[in-house]
């Protein structure tokens, strides 16, 4: 059929025919912000995936069935009330319209949540053992409560069915109530709900029976489990095989979703959504192991992002369906692009985990590289339509994320686009970031832009710094400045940047300075760069201490990413020191002495090192902007009301004939933020050019 025939082989799940083997697996979207009801945003987000060809969407990661499983933190869907039913109907219609199928994951989170919100509920778990990731304490669940929750599961499933969804997935993974009962690590009960294998299985079994009794045979019911908890006292792969076979034998289940790793510690949590430091499909063997012992279809997700990879896994027969969830966040049209033979046009997930790291902070899921994802309801487009208006000459200055996106979008609109980049390659700060160990995959963002800009025939002027005359020579109608910024190491003169006593993190990563042997990194920002520099230098054999005046180094790095940094940094004996501010640096012989001041006591201490690296963020590069600002029609101003409303800039209606032009600046050269901000700046501004 094609090189991807295994992907496009339909499959039966229960009575349901799924059109292909690709699933968007359950994740918390943080869009059910209307008290746990699925919002317009929520519906459009899934509709886009269905429109893009996704076979099955399982929405609502950790959607709760009971009133006392609080959904506050990540705004999960609330199935504890019939109010949800009409919302589900909207959702189901939107997905079905495009031939997709949609199910929802339902659960009682047990101890795995936070109590300090909404109804301030009391958390419960089989034996009242605290859960570390959420820092949550809980009570021991009582028999009456067990039966109530079992009934809640059944009612939630009924609501999903009445809402027109195609099925439910019972979450027995991530240490929710069902697998809390399974795991002897947290189930210390001595009654019929704990102890022996059968007793530990009882709660899940009763849930399954109750759900099945409520929804009948003609509605898909699956279960998501883990293939190995990787906890010393947790469930092993063999345990999980036994459990899977046990539930499979009931004949009540229609599918299993299997992932690797438990996640009730920060460290294991990072395995569940493997970031770019992991190899492709690291835990496939666990899912394949489960598949060996069960008869029903098995879904596996975890670092499957590429069509070839998906085809290989499916063709190999390891599992029946592949979850490509982050792949769909990065490009909801991935399936359509595979079908259209546009493999090179797929915006491939790079595993930056911006999406999931936001979610763990209770923020809505967004994609680092695709600013249209989950903004469909606002009218931010995934597919840029050609303009029906005049074709313009657009000059973009700066080949970082903002500039690349601006050039791409303007070119998709059909304009004549020239992109200037001072370096001899595209990417801007992404290139710098990709130099660190474990971070090379982030260059995938640039890779996509490179292919797209070539496809769209953007006139790329690499290695060319655009100055005022060069730009005006092109007689542009629109100039977009995306020149980014420079490391801001001059903030404190005592640091000695001007005397050459310190170097910037960029200098190190870009290879402009040789790595020292004994290095102090001072990081005021506590995001990726500081950690990356520490990792990079220690990888090169340096003795490294990473110091911050913040509460901990890497404090702003998300929950699925800092653990992989920690694994690497601790292994290389990098010292992580908090609460010390860099006071000054001076030279002593051929050594440098860094004077550090304790943030809370003012106590000074020194370090003798041979290199001091300062990561103090970025300062916008504004020179070109001010050179052009007053010559431009709009004086460089962006109309914020239009921008935020995803409407065209009013200034676009002005005539740019002759020498006149519009000037906009985006990304870090306006104010230093992150990759997503830069790309969103560009997309929402340029989509109406």
């Amino acid at each position: 059929m094609s090189q991807f025939d295994a992907i496009f082989q339909p499959i039966q799940i229960g009575n349901l025919t799924i059109r292909n083997r690709v699933v968007s697996t359950a994740h918390a979207e943080v869009y059910a912000t209307d008290g746990g009801m699925t919002t317009d945003r929520y519906v459009k987000y899934y509709e886009e995936k269905a429109k893009g060809g996704c076979g099955l969407c399982i929405c609502g990661g950790s959607s709760v069935v009971s009133i006392d499983s609080p959904q506050g933190w990540w705004s999960s869907v609330n199935l504890s009330t019939d109010r949800i039913i009409p919302h589900f109907q909207n959702l189901a219609d939107a997905v079905h319209k495009h031939g997709g199928k949609i199910m929802i994951q339902i659960t009682h989170m047990g101890r795995r949540s936070r109590w300090d919100g909404y109804d301030w509920s009391t958390l419960m778990s089989p034996s009242g053992i605290r859960e570390p990731v959420h820092r949550s304490t809980c009570k021991t669940i009582e028999e009456e409560e067990i039966w109530r929750v079992i009934g809640d599961f059944a009612q939630a499933a009924r609501r999903a069915k009445e809402g027109g969804l195609d099925g439910v997935e019972l979450s027995a993974v991530h240490q929710h109530m069902i697998d809390q009962f399974w795991s002897p690590r947290v189930n210390k009960r001595t009654d019929e709900w704990g102890g022996s294998f059968e007793n530990r299985m009882r709660f899940g079994m009763e849930v399954l029976k109750a759900v099945r009794a409520e929804v009948g045979r003609d509605f898909a019911v699956g279960m998501r489990i883990c293939g190995d908890e990787f906890h010393p006292d947790g469930l092993t792969h063999d345990d999980m095989k036994q459990i899977a076979a046990y539930y499979d034998a009931t004949g009540l289940l229609d599918f299993f979703g299997v992932i690797g790793s438990g996640c009730d510690t920060h460290n294991t949590l990072a395995n569940v959504i493997p970031n770019m430091s992991f190899p492709p499909e690291p835990f496939l063997h666990l899912a394949a192991g489960i598949k060996e012992v069960v008869k029903i279809p098995v879904i596996h997700a975890q670092n499957i992002k590429d069509p070839n990879q998906a085809q290989r896994i499916l063709e190999g027969g390891y599992v029946d369906l592949v979850g490509m969830t982050r792949a769909h966040i990065a490009d909801p049209h991935i399936i359509a692009k595979i079908k259209m033979g546009q493999i090179d046009q797929i915006r491939q997930c790079v595993g930056a985990n911006y999406c999931i790291d936001r979610q763990y902070q209770g923020l809505d899921v967004l994609c680092i590289q695709n600013a249209a994802t989950s903004r469909e309801h606002m009218g931010v487009p995934h597919i840029i339509e050609k303009t029906e208006g005049i074709k313009r000459k657009v000059v973009v200055v700066g080949g970082g994320p903002a500039g690349m996106e601006a050039a791409r979008v303007a070119a998709e609109r059909g304009h004549d686009v020239t992109l200037f980049e001072g370096k001899d390659q595209l990417g801007g700060q992404i290139t710098t970031a990709s130099k660190a160990p474990q971070r090379d995959q982030i260059a995938g963002i640039t890779r996509w832009y490179q292919l797209e800009l070539a496809r769209l025939k953007v006139d790329l002027r690499l290695g060319t710094y655009a100055d005022e005359p060069t730009i005006k020579d092109l007689r542009p109608d629109i100039v977009v400045l995306a020149v980014g910024g420079k490391p801001f190491v001059q903030q404190m003169p005592e640091w000695g940047a001007d005397e050459g006593l310190i170097v910037s993190s960029w200098d190190v990563l870009d290879g402009k300075v040789e790595p020292g042997k004994n290095v102090l990194i001072y990081d005021t920002i506590c995001e990726f760069t500081g950690m990356s520099v520490a990792d990079y230098l220690s990888e090169k054999g340096a003795k490294v201490e990473l110091v911050t005046d913040d509460i901990k180094p890497g404090a702003a790095v998300g929950g699925t990413t800092f653990p992989t940094y920690y694994r690497s940094l601790y292994a290389k004996e990098v010292i992580l020191t908090s609460d010390l501010a860099l006071h000054k640096v001076y030279r002593e012989g051929d050594q440098l002495v860094a004077v550090l001041e304790n943030e809370y006591t003012g106590q000074m201490e020194e370090r003798v090192v041979d290199q001091v690296v300062v990561e103090n963020g970025v300062r916008p590069d504004e020179a070109l902007y001010y050179a052009l600002k007053h010559q431009s029609l709009n004086k460089g101003q962006i109309d914020l009301e239009s921008l935020y409303a995803i409407k065209p800039q009013p200034s676009l209606s002005e005539s740019t004939e002759g020498d006149s032009f519009l000037l906009f600046r985006i990304g870090d050269c306006t104010a230093p933020r992150n990759t997503h901000a830069a790309i969103y700046d560009a997309l929402r501004l340029c989509k109406d050019f």
Partner: protein, 274 residues
């Protein structure tokens, strides 16, 4: 209509080549067809100058097998000898008897049948019974004279090795051999299926076997035996890294090339002999 130039067995220079043919089965639909490797064996015989190809099938003639058998005749030969054997018969004695009578210099066949046991043992049994040398996995016959044949044997990874074998010999043909020519409707329809009777010996051993559709068996991913949870995790998520490789720094390009060459020679992947 003479569609091929048949060589009568009276032709003194002709080398008699027996080609053993079986009824194949299409991998997707299971429809009967000429077996891939057997057809290649026949192709090899037909392409051999001076060969007098004798087509032999041991089995049953029925509505199912006839189109498949005729598709060999569609390759040009006018006749096939059909040694009548019932289902579940051990065709070896009948084949042996027939071949001894026929007295070919070469016997060609596919490595393995597409239906039934498909163990690939038959050619070996036959060679053992006849006392002939056997070469398996042929890609080509380069030349044949009265006393020997020079052949190319297909090795794994697309490699080839040249062998010379004393005749008479039995050769089994691999999928690396040239694709069989097209089978044409006209000659297939016209060709003769000459049935001969033969002694029947039933294969009783098979009665104790259980035969089921093949169970899908994915290739092994990783074997992780570690008992500690952390080690299991590490083994799962580890980057593929070698251990103790040799790193040559600060050397000249010539020295580097020498080191690489040495390893290539050791591993035997360089073929500088031709």
């Amino acid at each position: 209509m003479l569609l091929s130039t048949p060589r009568s067995s009276a032709d003194k220079t002709a080398i008699k080549v027996a080609v053993l043919l079986s009824v194949g089965s299409h991998p997707l639909t299971g429809r009967g067809r000429r077996a891939e490797q057997d057809a290649r064996a026949l192709e090899m015989a037909l392409a051999l100058p001076q060969a007098d190809a004798q087509l032999i099938h041991a089995g049953r003639l029925n509505d199912e097998s006839e189109p498949a058998l005729r598709s060999y005749l569609g390759m040009g030969p006018q006749q096939m000898t059909l040694i009548q054997q019932p289902k579940q018969a051990d065709v070896l004695p009948a084949l042996e008897k027939h071949l001894r009578q026929l007295g070919p210099k070469l016997i060609l066949c596919g490595s393995r049948a597409e239906a039934g046991e498909g163990s690939g043992l038959l050619p070996y049994l036959l060679a053992e019974k006849l006392g002939w040398p056997l070469i398996s996995g042929l890609a080509a016959i380069e030349s044949v004279d009265g006393s020997s044949a020079t052949v190319l044997q297909a090795l794994p990874r697309g490699q080839r090795r040249r062998l010379r074998v004393k005749l008479p010999a039995l050769l089994t043909i691999d999928s690396a051999a040239p694709v069989a020519r097209q089978s044409a409707f006209g000659p297939a329809r016209r060709g003769q299926l000459a049935e001969v009777d033969a002694p029947v010996q039933m294969d009783t051993e098979q009665e104790g076997w259980e035969v089921q559709p093949a169970r899908k068996r994915p290739k092994r991913l990783k074997i992780i035996k570690a008992t500690s949870a952390r080690d299991r995790f590490k083994a799962a998520a580890a980057k593929s890294e070698g251990s103790g490789g040799q790193v040559l720094k600060d050397i000249t390009a010539a020295e580097g090339a020498d080191a690489v060459l040495k390893l290539l020679m050791e591993e035997g992947v360089l073929r500088v002999s031709s």
